[in-house]
């Protein structure tokens, strides 16, 4: 047993989700990403004296929805607080956040472990806050500040220290990511910083109940980085303790290029935020009627959808998992399946296969979202119908699929235009087979001598002369009759 196995890690995550509202949390400035620097600013988000922040109702609505989706209690009353610190990208000198009375508390997220079991990760709290601006350190001899992002609404989701490995942490993060995307409250783009994750990590000997000293890891902007960074930090702490050292409480920044975590230059007195209630903002009161109406707007979440896909479409669990990764993909499948003239298990599985292999490949190759796939779910469903009713073979379908990609035409139109109709005329097939058998007398003798695997050869040859349009089932049947007869 390795020394690493005698330790366990204790991990808690703080996830910041940037909300997809049109405007900022306390003013009417746009939240559009990538606009010219300092163009989405006004006296409120610039932190001018004497201005009054007014809360965007949509932010509260989104917070309630996420709270409900993560099984939180929604606080009847919650208040905003000022978190005080100086940094150039925070013009007011304080960030408006929630401290003692966050909007959501005591929830949980269930994650699937590799062994097939589930583990419940506690959600301590979810609160509303504003984002800071952006400091640019490498464009000038001075630091440049862009305040556009300042005031963009965030939900901070704080977990309990319930995770015990990097894998569990990334599973949890994935689950939160999937939930905010399904709810449509955040675009989940980690590279652009729409979803950010900080981790608190400590280690202790297995069986120990006291927590070790934790370090905070920041700047992990992809799922892969989260896993690698946490693994790195767990190992660093164990090595340090094994060498007789002690872990000191500090903030580390993950460097994805070097694959190391380096201590961040400390913000002086960074932990004395002197929170106090913000006198400019009034309490947020959420009654049961509001909660009930928010509940109605929560769509079917990935877990339930996965279950339904297995139960009502009779899909394998693996397929259901892939198809429900993203809400848009799940909806694509359902629309395609809705087109089927025969809604049976076999056809559902065919649709699933086409999506999992061909549609996803196209999306990856072209780096596009489901909504931008040139093949609509209606056309995909119609194509599967053509396969199911014997109009085209699966092989010809590949050609139709590629054609649809560029022409965006209905599969029926393509089949007609290209003359791809499957030949199911037994007489015509028989004629071709007779010619093939006459052409390959040696192979026929070998077949009759016991080399039955030569069937494949004859099927292939027949298909070749029929340009892939022969009905494979009929070809097989007629061939068998001829060869064995």
């Amino acid at each position: 047993m390795s020394v690493y196995d005698t330790y366990e890690a204790v991990i808690g995550l703080e996830v910041h989700a940037q909300l997809s509202t049109k405007t900022k949390i306390f003013c009417g400035c746009s939240t559009t990403f990538g606009n010219a620097p300092n163009s989405n600013v006004c006296p409120v988000c610039l932190g001018m004296p004497g201005v009054l922040p007014v809360l965007n109702k949509q932010v509260v609505e989104y917070a309630i929805r996420l709270g409900l989706a993560t099984h939180c209690a929604i606080s009847p009353t919650s208040v905003f607080a000022r978190k005080n610190y100086f940094y150039p990208d925070l013009p007011k000198g304080y960030q408006i956040s929630q401290y003692e009375e966050p909007i959501c508390r005591h929830g949980f997220v269930d994650i699937d472990l590799e062994d097939g079991s589930t583990k419940r990760i506690g959600v301590t709290r979810i609160h509303m806050e504003e984002d800071a601006g952006k400091s640019i350190h490498d464009m000038d001899t001075d630091t440049l500040v862009d305040v556009n992002r300042c005031g963009t609404p965030l939900l901070e989701i704080v977990s309990e220290p319930d995770m015990r490995s990097a894998k569990e942490a990334s599973q949890y993060l994935h689950s939160v990511w999937q939930t905010v995307k399904y709810l449509g409250i955040c675009d989940g783009n980690m590279e652009e910083g729409s979803l950010r994750c900080d981790a608190n990590i400590s280690v202790r000997l297995k069986g120990e109940t006291k927590l070790g000293t934790k370090a905070e890891l920041k700047n992990m902007n992809s799922f892969r980085n989260v896993e690698r960074a946490i693994e790195y930090e767990i190992k660093r702490q164990i090595d340090l303790i094994e060498e007789g050292g002690t872990v000191v409480q500090q903030t580390l920044l993950w460097n994805a290029e070097k694959n190391i975590a380096a201590p961040m230059r400390s913000k002086e007195e960074a932990h004395d935020y002197r929170y106090f209630p913000d006198p400019d903002l009034v309490p947020v009161v959420v009654d049961n009627a509001w909660i009930a109406s928010a509940q109605k707007l929560i769509p079917e979440l990935p877990k339930e959808r996965r279950k339904r896909f297995v139960e009502s479409f009779k899909l394998p669990a693996y397929d259901a998992g892939v198809l429900t990764q993203e809400r848009e993909l799940a909806e694509y499948f359902e629309s395609a399946a809705g087109q089927l003239s025969k809604k049976n298990e076999e056809n559902h599985k065919t649709v699933s296969n086409w999506i999992m292999t061909d549609v996803l490949r196209v999306m990856n190759d072209k780096k596009i979202a489901v909504a931008d796939c040139p093949i609509t779910p209606e056309h995909l469903g119609a194509m599967v119908n053509l396969i199911a009713d014997g109009t085209i073979s699966g092989k010809i379908a590949k050609e139709v699929f590629d054609d649809m990609l560029t022409t965006k035409e209905h599969p029926k139109a393509i089949v007609e235009r290209k003359g791809l109709l499957q030949i199911s005329d037994a007489g015509a097939i028989e004629k071709e087979i007779d010619l093939i058998l006459a052409k390959f007398p040696n192979e026929m003798t070998r077949y009759r001598g016991g080399e039955v695997k030569l069937t494949g050869f004859f099927v292939g040859e027949t298909m070749k002369v029929m340009k892939g349009k022969g009905n494979p089932k009929l070809i097989n049947e007629i061939l068998k009759k001829k060869l064995d007869g």
């Binding site: 003013c27 010219a36 163009s39 007014v54 400091s135 630091t143 862009d146 305040v147």
Partner: protein
């Protein structure tokens, strides 16, 4: 509770302010005087009274999520001691 010169130094540091020893001494006294005056409030029995974060009895003051015109960049940068075309400029934060 009494304020020491160390507390004054700590608060000054958080506020990024620097004071002379004489000023620190003066503020220590003033802080203590203020706190002592406030201590009178301790004589009030607050058993069962919820902490109050707001004195105005309003709740749920909201905006709709509708975009309003922003301030032109030029205008926004006008009060800044230093700026480039489109950015605020501050002394280098990290080197």
């Amino acid at each position: 509770m009494s304020v020491t010169i160390k507390d004054v130094e700590h608060i000054a540091k958080l506020a990024k302010l620097e004071f002379s020893d004489a000023e620190k001494e003066k503020f220590t006294h003033q802080f203590n005087d203020i706190l002592k005056y406030m201590e009178q409030l301790n004589s009030v029995d607050t058993t069962g009274v919820e902490p109050l974060a707001q004195v105005i009895e309003l709740k749920n003051v909201f905006r709709d999520d509708t975009v309003k015109p922003s301030t032109p960049t030029e205008e926004a940068l006008k009060n800044a001691p230093a700026s480039s075309d489109v950015h605020f400029k501050v002394p280098k934060v990290i080197g």
